[in-house]
Amino acid sequence: MKKHGNGLVATVKYVSIGIGSERSFLLMGLLAVITTIFGITTPRFLTYPMFNVIMSQCAEIGLMGLGMSLAWMINGVDLTVNDVANLTALTAAMTIRQFAYLGSLSFPSLLLSYCAALLTGGFCGAINGFLIAYLNIPPILATLGGLTLYRGISIAVTGGKTIAGLPTEVALIGRGVLWKIPIPFVILLVVFSLIFVLLKYTTFGFKVKMVGINVKAAHFSGINYRKIIMIIYILSGFLAALAGIIIMGRTRSVAYEYGTQVYIVFALLITNLAGTSAGEHSAIAVFLATLILQILSTGFYLRFMTLPGGPFFNNFLWGLFLVVILILAQLLKRLREQKSS
């Protein structure tokens, strides 16, 4: 293969280095293809209300997927994303209810509840990070333990019931619209830009990359790798907390089992679709993967909604999809390694 083409090819390559990678172009193509397929096969798919639905729903899975991909980047995994989201939503809901009960539900008190939720998320992430970074517990087991713990807290506090009928004020974040764009999507865009800048243009981002590629080398270069790992898991906790706040706003309810079936699978799917691997992370690819997954999810839902037991069939498909994507991602990676060597 020639290293440098000329003319158009060179320009495309130059631009691609600037905004992402080959993977991003691949994902853009995939995005165009599935949008066209669903647009043709499903009536009323290419309409504004439908895009509204997709944009407001993709924030949750996008934020969780981003947290998971950050952990994946440093050879870890964060299985607690979904349960941290539910737990933080529960914290926010209980604080809001308390304020509403006292009759002082205003903008500052709402903000205070959201801060409580974010703190809870950060704290959960800190527990994960501590177990993994300082006590050397393998990430899968540490976060499985965390998952049991956080889900356990949610079940114990709610008694296994759904908290519904939250005041309408919370819906602002979940269903509000800013210049015709749903607020969850705005949040998603802001968060992704921040993470993009953080990883690409700061020393911290570079350190994270080093830790992901080789912990030992990073350690010997004087990087406090334990601190980096800790911060990444705390960051993932914050992202999950944001997702929890959005879920609460969108559904105006909190349930310990919201999304416990598929959201971890979604997060893993986004991570692997985006081609995240040790030390390699592209916020743009993760964003595109999120869009693809949400379009697939909405499209599948529309196609199989009328089928008896449709949701079960969807679960079957998601499981299969995860296995297939995992295999494909790994094969692609191996092919690229072969090409480069």
Partner: protein
Amino acid sequence: MNSMKIKKIISKHETVLLVAILLIGGIIGIFNRAFLSLATAFEILRGSVPYALMGLGVLPVLLLGEVDISFVGIAAVTSLVSHTLLRSWGYAGGLSAYVGLAIPMGAVLAVIVGLISGYVKLPVFAVSLGFWLMLYGFNLFFISPEMRFDLPSGLVGFYGEFLFRIRDPVVGETGLHIGVIYVLLCAVLIWAFLRYTVYGRGFYIAGGNREVALRTGYNIITLLCVAMAINGSLAAFAGVLQCAYKRFFDPILFRGTELFVIAANVIGGVSITGGRGSVISVLLGVIFIQLVTRGLIYLGVAPTWQQLTVGIMLTVFFVITGLRGKVYHELIRKLAMGRKGQSQNEKTR
């Protein structure tokens, strides 16, 4: 010499756990006298049966340093599929045909997971998560979304098949369920396999140091597939036993309990990085979790607190293990320093 031996036994994890089990049982007994009875002991043992089987199954996988959660899905699919098939063939007998049909199915499904993760070089956990969702979806969509109560006549009396019976003042006539014998049989088989066969030793070697296992001539993928085959067959067995005992076949059998099984293994003393762990640790870990979660009910705590309890136990256990590992590494480093730096490159992390 003799006191050394005693010290060694006392400091063993299994001994500590056994003492903890007796202690917790005693404490719960002080608060609720009804707890300290043979009937409770039998009920705890009976309740441990499916978890012990699944725990024994997942032990070889954990020994290899991998984590699997697809076994619960395998249990659900194999039991429901074999039930559906046998009912459509007009089968009216007992457990044997169910077991004969479910176990090969479970082994095949699990080996597929093992093959995928082995050849594509993926963590078993990621693949098994996909299979977990896929298998439950398969069960609910393709087989039956409802529980099936149409047991064949040979299976109806299974829940009352006791080894021996006793009379209890609170619960009436009860006894030690025959499932316990199956668990013991499987435990002995797995123990012998792990201890006396070349493959069994291979799990410990590969879990401790993969490179050494490779140099010794073990094929890691084969090892993984053997581990997964054991895992799948025991999970299938556990599924059939549980359905026969509960008197209905459930499409979402065991969903959510995979965490309890892995927690039991870890708390029982199976090493979290692979390479260490025994059949006894699994059995004790399962009984410990059953005792604590059931004991809470006797203490008047709502069952909704069970998961939190397991979560706290697991986290506390991780902290203890982590700290102990730290102390251990410190000790090694000090010893190495004592040898005047001659072992510079021996230092582990």
